[in-house]
């Protein structure tokens, strides 16, 4: 068998395999670590640039007159507005998205073609640029005779992020073994019991990931809220009042000719990043706690 391959040839083949293996390992490591390094670089850069302007006033005060020329105040209006909008939108997206994902997986289990069509449509919705949602929200708003407001912002952002919730959660539900569905069905559970007591529970980490992605997209998006939520220095109290948002605060301050104001844009970016970090840590913690009894 081996006689037609000489000993040295075989040794060279082995060597080649070892080199290939090493090369692949190095390449994957480079890819992974350069990604992390880029992320770290972005965060560090923002921190360095915004550090000077970062103060308790930034976080706890709304802009005073002259703020955009370097005067006193902070971006509390945008922090509150952003939190209201992204939390409200994430809630709506969850209320629609979670039942939708469960429906696709449990109730439509036997209709593979319908499932795939729905998935295709939602993927397409995911890919629609946020400015389009913004424009849609804007025309919807005019049609309903509403003004730029917290409510219009929430609805528009909810439209933007619902596909994210559905498809992210759905992808995780797809990985749940068929045997678990069958076992639950064989016990005589109804489909809604299976959906909410078993499949939702087993897919809970995916649910958290879906929420995080949706919330992150929602709080970080500027185009969808530009026309719908508007912008104001006041802290929004009612749903029909306009609301400022952090991405727009960053945008407006960055486009200022005054260096101090541009620094404050970076400070606002730091605040945005910290909010996202806190929320994702809290969510991961909750997810771990709740899925202690899940099978891995």
């Amino acid at each position: 068998m081996f006689s037609d391959i000489s000993f040295t040839e075989r040794r060279n083949m082995n060597k080649r395999k070892i080199i290939e293996e090493k090369l692949f390992r190095v390449l994957s490591a480079v890819a992974t670590y350069s990604l992390i390094a880029t992320l770290a670089f972005i965060i560090i850069l923002i921190f360095i640039k915004g550090f000077h302007a970062l103060s308790w006033d930034m976080v706890f005060k709304a802009p005073k007159g002259g703020y955009y020329y370097g005067g006193e105040g902070g971006v509390l209006n945008a922090i509150v507005g952003s939190l209201y909008i992204s939390i409200g939108a994430t809630l709506i997206a969850t209320l629609i998205g979670v039942p939708a994902a469960l429906f696709i997986n449990v109730h439509l289990a036997r209709y593979k073609r319908t499932q795939n069509t729905i998935r295709y449509i939602i993927d397409a919705l995911w890919g629609v640029p946020s400015i389009v949602y913004g424009a849609f929200g804007f025309s919807l708003m005019l049609f309903l005779g509403m003004n730029a407001s917290l409510l219009a912002g929430i609805i528009t952002v909810a439209l933007l992020i619902t596909p994210i919730v559905v498809r992210t959660f759905d992808e995780v539900l797809c990985t749940i073994p068929k045997g678990l569905y069958e076992a639950s069905m064989a016990l005589g559970s109804t489909r809604s019991e299976i959906s909410f007591k078993i499949i939702f529970k087993q897919g809970f980490p995916g649910f958290i990931t879906a929420l995080l992605l949706a919330f992150g997209r929602g709080i970080g998006d500027a185009a969808s809220v530009l026309f719908t939520a508007g912008y104001t220095d006041l802290i929004p109290i009612h749903l029909d009042e306009p609301a400022a948002t952090l991405p727009l605060a960053i945008f407006f301050q960055l486009s200022s000719p005054i260096p101090e104001v541009r620094e404050r844009a970076y400070a606002a970016a730091v605040i945005l990043t910290i909010i996202i970090l806190i929320i994702s840590l809290a969510a991961r913690f909750l997810s771990k706690k709740y899925t202690k009894t899940n099978l891995k």
Binding site: Y111, K112, A183, S184, L187, G188, S189, L295
Partner: protein, 273 residues
């Protein structure tokens, strides 16, 4: 509450007495069952009577339709749209394929034990309690009592009684399989459908499951799919040999394995083990 518990024990006892009465009337009867998947004729005109409180072993080469036959019996075939099922399956005079009865209620009459255990994503205790709650029992003490009873029934109680609120993931596969059996029993089925329940288990766990089946036969009818001929000999009251979607032969294991009539069974006995 104490009374309630007493009552439940009494209730269980009467069921036992009723069920252990020698009774060969069939619990399940299959008439002209056909299953198609597109052009593929998976089950061909199956006719079968399953007697009460016996172990029926389904035997046959891979792909002959054993799992599909089991799935028809608790209508898990509903999940697959491509499977067209026709014919009749009577359980207690109810034709489960053509009935207005709620499908979950039909499924509750049958416990399924699969090839691999699939514990639910909840604690060991809740896995068993799930089935009890499905039956509408809400009283905490009653649930506690039943969980203990069913875990004892499968010989798992002593192994898990200190870890009831842990994930089933900490159990071995053999223990998980017994947990799934306990969960199924908690729903109080008439029939246990077991699809190669020991094929993923080590010999000792397999033995435990086998012994359990021997005891469970007193109260339940068991339909068992296995590829292990020796297991069939040890457990079966009746063996049904299938090939290519058809029932080829059936009878007691002694008769069938000593004097196989068909060439297919002879061949299976030579190669299949």
């Amino acid at each position: 509450m104490y009374l309630l518990k007493e009552e439940m024990i009494a209730h269980d006892k009467t069921i036992n007495i009723m069920k252990t009465d020698i009774d060969t009337e069939s619990v399940l009867q299959i008439k002209n069952l056909n299953v198609h998947a597109g052009d593929h004729h998976i089950l061909k005109n199956i006719n079968l009577r399953i007697p009460k409180n016996k172990v029926i072993v389904l035997l046959g080469p891979s792909g002959c339709g054993k799992t599909t036959l089991l799935k028809c019996m608790n209508r898990l075939t509903d999940i697959n749209k491509e499977l067209e099922v026709s014919g009749h399956i009577y359980i207690e005079n109810d034709d489960i394929l053509n009935t207005s009865t709620n499908v979950p209620l039909i499924r509750q009459k049958m416990g399924l034990l699969g090839q691999r255990p699939y514990p639910l994503p909840m604690s060991i205790y809740k896995n068993v309690a799930y089935g009890i709650r499905l039956k509408g029992v809400r009283d905490k003490k009653m649930i506690n009592y039943s969980v203990e009873k069913h875990l004892k029934e499968v010989g798992l109680w002593d192994e898990v009684k200190d870890r009831l609120h842990h994930s089933p993931g900490i159990l071995s596969i053999g223990q998980q399989q017994r947990l799934c059996l306990a969960r199924g029993l908690a729903v109080k089925p008439r029939i246990i459908l077991a699809d190669e329940p020991t094929s993923a288990l080590d010999p000792i766990s397999s033995k435990i499951i086998e012994n359990l089946f021997r005891d469970l036969k007193l109260n339940y009818t068991i339909i068992l799919v296995t590829h292990v001929l020796r297991q069939a000999v040890r457990l079966a009251d009746n063996v049904v040999f299938m090939s290519n979607g058809e029932i080829i032969e059936q009878g007691s294991p002694q008769k069938l394995f000593k004097h196989p009539k068909s060439a297919k069974l002879k061949e299976y006995m030579v190669n299949g083990n």
